[in-house]
Structure formats: structure tokens, C-alpha cells
Amino acid sequence: AQSVTQLDSQVPVFEEAPVELRCNYSSSVSVYLFWYVQYPNQGLQLLLKYLSGSTLVKGINGFEAEFNKSQTSFHLRKPSVHISDTAEYFCAVSAPGNTGFQKLVFGTGTRLLVSP
């Protein structure tokens, strides 16, 4: 079965500093990988996704992630964060479910706290 590990439950960072949110996955088959962001009292919004091709994926709001098959990682990065980036970030893998349907399996989330 597929699983996702987000080792950091919380990452504090100062405004305009770079940040990396770590995500590792386990799977015996090829997967699709996603990063979602959840702002307070809102639903999840897709930041970016890796399906195939270039291992560096660029998303919205200046975020990017790099797929590393040998390390089974999909870390999220941003070179300079803003206060408005304060949110919960979820890494997810698309995994085969019943009847061939592929469901999203989420990590436990990383809370990014950006301070002035």
C-alpha cells in the first residue's frame, strides 16, 4: 500500500527566507504526487502535481517541488516566503484503490508559520 510521510509537523520561518517542506512516499508502483495547501477555515487548494516528465515541477504562488525517485521524495520549496504563505501544507500520492480507482493518500500535514 502507498503511504506518505511528512516528517515536520510545523516549520517556523521568517518572512523573505527560503523554505523546504519535506515529503517522502512509499510505493511499489509508479505514482502521481501532489501538494495541496489549506488556509485557515478553507478547503484544500492544489499547489502543484507531478505526473511524469521533468522532475522539477512549478506551481502557483512561487512554489516548486522536485521529484526524486531514488530518494522517494517530493519536497516542496519556495525561495522567499510571505506572511500570506502561513497555512497547512499536505503532500499526497495517488494510489490504486478498489476497482482500479485511484484515491489520494495524504500525509499528516506541515504547518508553515511565517513571521515578520
Partner: protein, 116 residues
């Protein structure tokens, strides 16, 4: 509307009562998903609809939980005889094709259920 909508946004109920949670997916999206987000369990998949049928109900935690979708659009998640452990945020998502791992799921803002 432009996005996935859910109602009510908040629901407080007493233990043992039944509750119904509603989801309106993005118009034209054939696939609909329910997830549960709780402190102890993170984000869990509950059920997937393709059109009006539910090929994957593997995430429903007990037979007190059921869901239906009518007209290939609106879905209702029903929890009977609610228990305190049912307290969580229930998220609905939809996607254009469904069953395809690469398909982006668009999430609603969720319904926060509190069982007293």
C-alpha cells in the same frame, strides 16, 4: 457556482442523532469524493462516486455512514446515531473524469461536525 460548495459549514449535534451533510460539485464533474479530516487521523478517504454509482466505499468507517449521489450532481453524506469520535471536518471534492490518478481534485470548504 465556480467551485465545490458544502452545507452546512458548521453542524453541532447531540450524540445519537442523525446528520446529513451536502456537497455540490463543480458543474460537469463526473467524479465526487468525500474525505474526513480529524486531529487524530489526518485526512482520510471515505467514498468515491463516478456518476451516481459508488465503486469505492472502502473508506467508510462503519455502517452508520452512508452516502448517495443523485442526478450525477449533488451528494449527501449521512451519519446515523452520531458518536463523539465522528467529530471532524468533512471535505468534499470533485474532478472532471474520476478514477484517473492524474485527475486534479477540487475541494470544498468543508463541514465542521461537532458531536456533543
Amino acid at each position: 457556482g465556480a467551485g465545490v460548495s458544502q452545507s452546512p459549514s458548521n453542524k453541532v449535534t447531540e450524540k445519537g442523532k442523525d446528520v446529513e451533510l451536502r456537497c455540490d460539485p463543480i458543474s460537469g464533474h463526473t467524479a465526487l469524493y468525500w474525505y474526513r479530516q480529524s486531529l487524530g487521523q489526518g485526512l482520510e478517504f471515505l467514498i468515491y462516486f463516478q456518476g451516481n454509482s459508488a465503486p469505492d466505499k472502502s473508506g467508510l468507517p462503519s455502517d452508520r455512514f452512508s452516502a448517495e449521489r443523485t442526478g450525477g450532481s449533488v451528494s449527501t453524506l449521512t451519519i446515523q446515531r452520531t458518536q463523539q469520535e465522528d467529530s471532524a471536518v468533512y471535505l468534499c471534492a470533485s474532478s472532471s473524469r474520476g478514477g484517473v490518478g492524474a485527475d486534479t481534485q477540487y475541494f470544498g470548504p468543508g463541514t465542521r461536525l461537532t458531536v456533543l
